[in-house]
Amino acid sequence: MGMVLLTLTPALFVQSIYFGPGLWIQLSLALLTALACEASALAIRHKPLMAPLTDCSVLITATLLAMSMPPLAPWWLIVSAVAFAVLLGKHAFGGLGLNTFNPAMLGYAVLLVSFPKQMTTWLPAQHMQATNLTLSQTAQAIFSDTLPESLTVDILSGASPLAAIKSGLSQRQTIEEIFTQPIFSSLAGQGGQWVSLSILLGGLCLLAMKIIRWQISTGVLLGLGLCAWIMHQLDPGQHAGVLFHLFSGATMLCAFFIATDPVTAATSPRGRFVYGLGIGALTYIIRDFGSYHDGVAFAVLLMNLAVPLIDKFTIPRAYGRAA
């Protein structure tokens, strides 16, 4: 599982280049909280400490959450998300291998429901800001919730491309008009598209090394892509295209690093493809018709719930057993 972390590092660097050093602070907080929670949960449960702490699984949960947090989100947000993920999402279910829900997504969803404002205040890409925040200014923002004069609340809100589409459409703008806003680029959002591409690169490495298999990732991309294509064909003025959806929000992170968590996925290869398709389709439905900007967390959790059902209908035909 260490390889999963390694293949995520290019994306971490790209994200910090575009969205500032806040990511590193969020990541440090997440990793420390994760290790502390994992160690104390193991101690309370009288389990050996070494193997679970060194298998990197809890670090992956922490990294995924840190990447999903707004860079300037207050410190208690990431700390409580990680604590919730590790303590209730993972250990309350019996620890590694026994949890029903993806811990990272559970932590994210709980915070998104509880603190919607703080969880959706994304920064615009750095080169579009009047002045870039230094590390100390960022730390100040995260730990004491004080913003420098140059950064107004106005710039902070509604900056993510998925959110921009949502608010643009509600103001009766067409997709074409919305895309003229400066936060959009050729594929998707400024910065965001490069983060997505670097995640895709890491994901392809995992595939090449056979650490993940193609079924879930292909399912997610196909499920989302197909829905986006159909809706875009029906009304291009109201629905963004396939490429925008594939390279926006957490699509790539979901397809290669979140949905591919084997513990909470369906069991058989065919089941995993169905599971991926479901996540992709639900993500699109939530993005397009729901009130949240991105739907990845809820889509993953809903499909986690559907796993026993998928498993029941996708048992492979065993050798020597007629269909």
């Binding site: 193997a51 699984s57 590694l96 290869p269 065993a318 050798y319």
Partner: protein, 436 residues
Amino acid sequence: MSVAHYQGLDIPNHKERTRAQPISTIPSPPQFILPLNQHRGSTLIPCVNTGERVHKEQVIASPKNPLEANLHSPVSGTIIAIEPRPSAASISNETLSIVLANDFQDSSVPTMACLNWSALDSHQLCEQLAKGGIVGLGGASFSLARKLAAHPDHNINQLIINGVECEPFITCDDQLMREHAMEIIHGIQIIQLATKATHVTIAIESNKPEAIYAIQEALHSLNNLDIALRIIESTYPSGDEGQLITKVTGLELPSGKLPAEIGVIVSNVSTIYACSRWILHSEPLISRIVTVTGQCISNPGNYLVQIGTPIEHILQHCGATLTSKQKLIIGGAMMGQTLPHSNFPLTKAINCIILSDDRELKTETVEQPCIRCGECAQACPAQLLPQLLLTYSKQGNSDALTELGLYDCIECGNCDYLCPSNIQLATRFRAAKRKT
């Protein structure tokens, strides 16, 4: 992935140590131990008493069913005990065994030879094979006569001679084919008569070019055009009975059925060789070829060993003694079992003895939790879901286990080999099968 397209695993075969080692004989030990459960089926009944003198090749135990195989004395000597002893067939409890002191005279009375075997009908031929003590030597050790006579109503279309030997470390069949190809062909002709099979195929894995050449030459010199030679791609477990049937005939062996029910008989080359020795040379099954190998063996090789020889004696001859840090395995690294000590005798089923230390085998024994990665399901030749079987076997849910195909598990060990959490899946499934 459809069953017919299952690719198998490319695993290190570890055969280099004993490949092309000529078959040599291990001298008789002073004492033999002959467990009475030599093959699957009923336990044998001893027909000698303690203190009795026996000749070499004399029948010392026989079955109730005339189609089960006799047990013969490997040497001449005295029966010193008939008592429970450790046997590899059931490691957890001891098995009634005949203990024989060797007098090193090798005195024998001529055994009845079947001079005119080709005049026998198939049932008589089967009874002859049982008298000669012939069982399947590929590992399963099912009585050959019972296999051949199990379904007299079924027409056997295809007789498959299994020379695949896909299990890592083992080279005894390879070497047998190189050295005794002609006798194997003669043996095939006997079995062909017993089964009335219309087609015969010898299947050999592609990594044994010398054996393939030897068989080709033998077929050529006999001008035998009836026997087909089929080269099987070397992946694991291509030599499994079901897998091989599918590869050769395209048929799938239905769950819970015997190959004869779909018109197929599969038999190992070493079994065929034993038939030939018995029917044509009146030598009953009192010895077999065993591959002795592994990092801790100074003289690895393919040895002709008498049945009943203590494994301790074999190890000594091959320049090794078992220490606490080593692992003693019989029957191959994938499907074999680990023995707790070397105080076991060689039975008809044991085709390989491995003595190795940590460097060569998958040694990590601390199980980590299952992360449901699914690698086991991808590698399962029976297309089962090992991770679900694991969950249910822990719960002891025998209905769910049967439903998910526990009994279709061929115990090949692919799931154990690939599991990143070092979970001993096949071992658990083997135990669960015995329990339910």
